[in-house]
Symmetry: C2
Subunit: 173 residues, 2 copies
Amino acid sequence: MKPVSPSDEPVPGDDVPFPRPHHDHDHCRHDALRRAEDVCARQGARLTQARREVLDLLWADHRPVSAYDLLHRLNADGRKAAPPVVYRALDFLIEHGLAHRLNSLNAFIGCAHIGGEHGAQFFICRECGQVAETRSPEIDSAIRTAGAELGFRVQAPVVEVEGVCPTCSGAPA
Amino acid sequence: MKPVSPSDEPVPGDDVPFPRPHHDHDHCRHDALRRAEDVCARQGARLTQARREVLDLLWADHRPVSAYDLLHRLNADGRKAAPPVVYRALDFLIEHGLAHRLNSLNAFIGCAHIGGEHGAQFFICRECGQVAETRSPEIDSAIRTAGAELGFRVQAPVVEVEGVCPTCSGAPA
DNA sequence: GTAATAAATGTTATGTTATAACAATTGATA
DNA sequence: TATCAATTGTTATAACATAACATTTATTAC
């Protein structure tokens, strides 16, 4: 596992490894926001207040968040936002490749890569709940090959792997 | 894609390909039931009426079914079974490797293989809704390798691939 | 064979996740 | 500035899942 200094930029093809306990998370958050602004500018989409807030909440840490948790966090300031507010923001972020839904958890997480809608894989730690997102051409290719053998046209591969992250393996709870 | 005659027995390592339109589905159902009886006998588990019925409903065809659909089908005869009846049967079937949950659909499907809890992959046709279950060592191994590179201990890989099956590709709806 | 125990089922209630439908507002465009 | 499209607000409800406890059915020990 190669270390990543805070100033490194995750790019497609790279793995974004498990966050180390004391990494510069402000950097992650600001970086995510900047990426979102870039993407929206390029695609002529509007990163409105609600969308920006939800994205920022997703980046509170490297753990997936349920839609209703997001709602509660939004409403922590006294607002009375209703579920569609959150679900619409999430739909937008997912459509623009800025967030992902983790089916196995019914929860959402900010996208750690730029570009590429498909072909991501998620490694989910059962101990600490943190998630690492990778883009492994090997996994993607193995899936496409297996699909081809079935005569199946692959459109959206979903890979979610539960297990234990290196930090929790080294120092079990 | 190699053809499979109705009398072939799916075994781990084999792919169970997309069901052809006019295959001998009674064979699939009876086979699944027999496998279930075997597994339960070997594990000292009881394949009770409710569990057997749910399993049989799962094998109505090769499409995943939601828990509430199962419930409605159970209750089609006038019963007033409640959700826990279905969820408990599903839990049992999943624990014993006789059924799977498809996270991306919130739905359940009978297990098309024998043995092996983990390492299955599901190819889900967006056109007809049918699902093929495979056990590809290549996919599994690519996932484990990627995990190892992250220092991640893989426990339960989940692979669900959306796309279009050969039948629907050949004769689009 | 019967009592004691464990496993499974029945039932009610409730918790969690997600979307439909429509009104009101805001931003972009002509 | 009128028009249209996009976004947001709001209410209601649909869809998915489980907690908790009573009852019944199987198994086991005696």
